[in-house]
Subunit: 205 residues, 2 copies
DNA sequence: CAGCGTTCATACTGGTTGGTATGTAACGAG
DNA sequence: CTCGTTACATACCAACCAGTATGAACGCTG
């Protein structure tokens, strides 16, 4: 039994965020039903509207407090690794390997939200853009570091490569949603890995 | 004046498809309001339900009769060109150049529909998957032809490269939706073009 | 223990949406 | 001209959904 009458406002809020994230991942933000979130979280409507002023405010909180850390965590290895290309390849391989068919169908929450919400809600757009900017800056820094180390070719334009790599990853995961199998995702990722290898300087092969 | 009482069922149907396409492009399929489509097309609900059995059926027809030709037309140059790499580069440049800021915000209809509808509606998923398969097969054929001509490196895995190229294009257009400016799209595309050049065989440079 | 703000619970509402029932006018066949 | 089918038009409905009003129970403070 969970304590029936005990109050844990922070935990209630966190549960709400997590259940909202999952519902948004499955259905998208606009089609996400508050009733469904309330049912899966075991929270009532009064509690929800105590913690969040509106459905939109809940969505913003999910972006800031769930999606953002999730994106950051997935690429931290690349930013911290010695050989950023090898680390990126490893992340790409991990991305496909541990992904269930279910996860392939639902895709990347970050990509989903950009595609759904950016054109129709400025608050979502700004928050998602900020996450994208930070991600891109991280990749740029990693590539520059790699260039200083002699791992990455000096003629690579870091900004362009970073935008391209992020786009390719999200594009692969997105396109794979229309396929039932893992094949497309794996194939696209092999293409990406082949590209990443072209960024390596001859001296570090 | 358009003929007030004259009947043009084929034209009515076509108008409906085009207006539905635009509304779906702006709002997505599920958030697309039939009333909005009816208003922009000047057609009444009775006429709509005469031509299409349901909103879903209308959506399927839009995919088959508007989205599919649109996707096919955008890549035909690559499939027919002599130098498929040069043609692909040209398509990418054209893709960014002629695109208005408005079009950047709303993104690619094909990508939008895959991301929104594939997980939640099997009928959409199958139709979109078929378009993706055909697109990919086209690129594979173009790459193979390029390899036979000595334009494309022989060690390129055509299936992987095709999946990767399509994903990268759609990823760039998708990510750019979260940015107001053209910068990200152009930057990602420069990265893509740099990648496309790596596919070229040394003998054809 | 008294009092009060925080945290939640329940019932209800107004608006929107996809869909339908019913009617009518155009159109082609004979 | 007649008649049945096609192609629309209008009015209405049931479902769903975000949001609100109201109130009660908890729990900290003094």
């Amino acid at each position: 039994m969970n304590q029936p009458a005990r109050r844990q406002p922070d935990r209630t809020r966190q549960t709400l965020l997590e259940c909202a994230f999952e519902e948004m991942h499955r259905s998208g933000f606009r089609a996400a039903s508050l009733d469904a979130i309330l049912e899966s979280s075991g929270v009532t409507k009064g509690a929800l509207y105590h913690h969040f002023g509106s459905k939109t405010a809940l969505g913003y909180a999910v972006v800031e407090e769930v999606v953002r850390p999730w994106v950051e965590a997935s690429w931290r290895p690349v930013l911290e690794a010695g050989d950023c290309i090898a680390a990126a390849v490893a992340v790409c391989q991990e991305l496909t390997r541990q992904r269930t068919v279910r996860a392939i169908e639902y895709g990347c929450p970050f990509n989903n939200l950009i595609n759904e919400m950016s054109p129709v809600d400025e608050g979502f757009r700004k928050r998602l853009q900020q996450i994208l900017d930070d991600w891109r800056e991280g990749i740029v820094a990693a590539l520059r570091k790699g260039q200083a180390q002699g791992v990455v070719r000096a003629d690579v334009v870091a900004e362009d490569a970073a935008a391209f790599i992020i786009s390719a990853v999200e594009g692969c995961v997105g396109m794979a949603k229309s396929k039932r199998s893992r094949e497309f995702l794996e194939s696209g990722m092999r293409g990406l890995i082949a590209y990443l290898e072209t960024l390596r300087s001859r001296s570090s092969r």
